[in-house]
Amino acid sequence: MSQATKQAVESGLPRPEKEIVLNQTGELNLAEALKWGGLGGLAAIFIAAIGMMEAFDERVLIQPVLTLSYAGLGLIPFIFGYLTAKPPPSIEGMPPVKAGLHHLLAAGLTGILAGILLSLFVLLAQAVNLRDIFVNISPRTLDILTFEQETTLALILLIIGGGVLGLLGGLIVIIPEQWRRPVVSALTWTLLVGLLEVLFQPLLRGLNLNFVDNILFSPFGGLKQEGALVVFVVAFAIYTVMERREGIFSQRLAGMSDREKRPYLYAGIVVLVIVLGFLPIVGGVFISEVLDLVGIFLLMGLGLNIVVGYAGLLDLGYVAFFAVGAYVTAVLTSPTSPAWSPELTFWAAIPFVVLAAALAGILVGTPVLRMRGDYLAIVTLGFGEIARLLFQSEWLVPYVGGAQGILSIPNISIGSFEAQTPPQLFYPIAAFVLIAIYVSWALKDSRIGRAWMAMREDEPVAEVMGIDIVQAKLSAFIAGAVLASFGGALFAAKIGSIFPRSFDIIISIQVLVLIIIGGMSSIPGVIAGAFIVIGLPALLREFSEFQFLIYGALLIYMMLQKPEGFFPAKERMRELHGEEMLQDDWLKSREAADQETPAAAPDHNPDTG
């Protein structure tokens, strides 16, 4: 028991069942170090055991010293050291705790402990053949973990390295506030640029900035050491400047009225259009391919955003609408589609795609009208599976080609321009995406949009307030279906052939993950989500192997900490963190009130405080 509690008990208060000790003093918090150290060690062992070390070793971040595997390994004690040293959040009414030397030591301890655990694992793996059961603990993994040195030396390196990295992590806490963000950001950018060489290199070449490419990147993959330094310094400089100027800029922005903001908005849109116009050319074939994929999923994300984000209907069978769009396009445009091939052009087929999607939306929406949230999820999942199975079935082969699919789908053509290569396909895809973004944005503040949100919040209440729930639900499904079907149509035209295998439930899940990670019901969130969830694995093959593992972990973490997503919409923030935001506002108003009337100190009665 702490001192304070002892005194309280002695003065007659009952013994507490649980005691929460606020480490507001400067003691070395051994418990924290043990906890984070243990977790860190386990995390490192986990990453090694599932084969991530080996897979990530192919990717060089900084030639020749840092591969992704070592970066990942090193980040563990670094981050966990930071978490150990981080002082607890300041409690209202008590002075904030300053991080001191003891925190640093604790951080180092975390790193050492993690290193020890990992060393034990290495010893075990070398002594006993774990490969029969744990198939990915390969010799290569062990080589990586022991830095390809002799065991004893390697273990020493692991433990000391862990300790040093832990200390560095703790150091981040000690650094004064104004330098912290630049340092961390610069580090992050250095690693990111090394990781996304596959993205930056073609862009630099496309912009004819070959000399920058030569400065930064090594021909063997990854950044050169000098290049890494350059990136670090540049990022550091930029962030330092941003720290100084940031407050000023956002204040000015907040100060302007909507009308004053408008020229900036228009300028922004013009710039955006120009950038988009040149992006496929600058990026090259492969980057355009990735952008095309991202674009198609973004369309679907925007559609699902309407169904799940705005209207709160958890649709797990969204891929069905995607499939409908793809198949309708294929059947109507391909000269070899079975049963009936009117050989329309892509654009002539679009109205039929919309019609089919609307019908599908009604077909899916009607049975679930009276179902509650979780039932809705499983039934829509069922519909998604039914759709795929029917498209694949022998029964419907005369209409949709069955497992052999439909081939020879013609390209999208506008006049004499035929969109064949990925850069060419980018433009129609981008056009659809822009339209979808506009429609989503317009719907959000429209009458139906508000009806959706009211329904999402509390359905019975919304109904009592006069909202036609049936209309709201069906229109949400239809809107989502139409957007997904556009994605399907573009997919069919892009790949030129469709097989039912492509319409698996995993796509529904991917679209759901992307809107959650980005931020539900927030359009920038969906865009960011699409790039992260679809773009990254397409660019980096190591990630595509582990993508679902990472997304699973990310989803769990985010729901616990940040359910509103990385780029949340404001209302969402308010919904999910309402109490905290209210408290913050109240604190701020108290501070303001204190400043105005210093004499009137509030009555500090613990019972009513």
Binding site: I50, F134, I386, L512, L549, G552, A553
Partner: protein, 361 residues
Amino acid sequence: MASLTEIVRNRFNTERINWITIVFWAIGIISIVLIAWGSFNSITSGRLTGAQWRDLIVFGLAQGGVYSLIALGYTMVYGVLGFINFAHGEVFMSGAMVGFFAADALNSAGLWNNQPLLSLLIVLMVSMITSTFVAVLLERVAYRRLRNAPRLIPLITSIGASFFLQYTFRGLFGAGINSYPRMAALEGFINIFGLRILRSQALVIVAAVVMLIGLYLFVERTKAGKTLRAVAEDKEIAALMGINVDRAIVLTFAVGGAMAGAGALLYSLVFRQVYFFTGFFPGIKAFTSAVLGGIGNIVGAMTGGLTLGILETLGPSLVLAGFDIPAFTQLKDVVAFLALVLVLILRPTGILGERLSEERG
């Protein structure tokens, strides 16, 4: 004399009969007609003998037994916490996978076929402990803090947990398919009342029934069970009554996990192949069963499980074949999900009705 509209209104608790109700009724009637017609055609065509029809029903029962056991986990968690634990399929899979290693070891040691009963018990323990551990871990790490969050959030967490577990197992143990060793004692058939059933399937059905009865008694008759029911009814009042809600919830997950672990062993005996993806579709089907039977109650899980098993196995051969649909065996999942949709349209609370009160919606 109540008018027809009033009778219908009272029966369905709706304020108004509108076109939706009519549509639903129409769907129901047309479905029943189609099912009857297809079945009639199938049976009279003589394609399958009586014995074969009977076999199909028995296969469905065995499959349903496995679904029931997994469905229990879903239904208990839903009853207490109000959300679908998507990761329950992976709880099942973890038991099956770790059980495999135990079985493999026993086989190498020669015990698997020499001491079948002992081996089965050992693997059962291993499987149940693993599944329980994973379930409790899930609750502690992923779900505990989300007790009061809007319903969508823990659902999404569970989807994340499901993928995380799947790919963790894939990473740790590889993507290859693992085969349980053959057990000679379970080979061949057994004759009950003139019915010829596979020994392994008989074991599944008997074990499932025993476990379900055990669980039912546990929940209805013991004090711990009463705690669970109280917490399911109303968490806050239960807390006020002095019940340790946290512990009750952990118990719920543990019991659900244990049932899934038992189901995992039975599944492995019947199907013998397990890999990291084994839990995904059975998980979905099991949840479908739970909903079908009426979520939140144990008898419902059993009914739903058995029903789904039979529908899936018998449905295509009975109904679809009657319409001369080519390759009708391909469509068993379609039958299963359509059945779910139909049941939920006509009886939104499932066959046996829900345990929860209506207002909890």
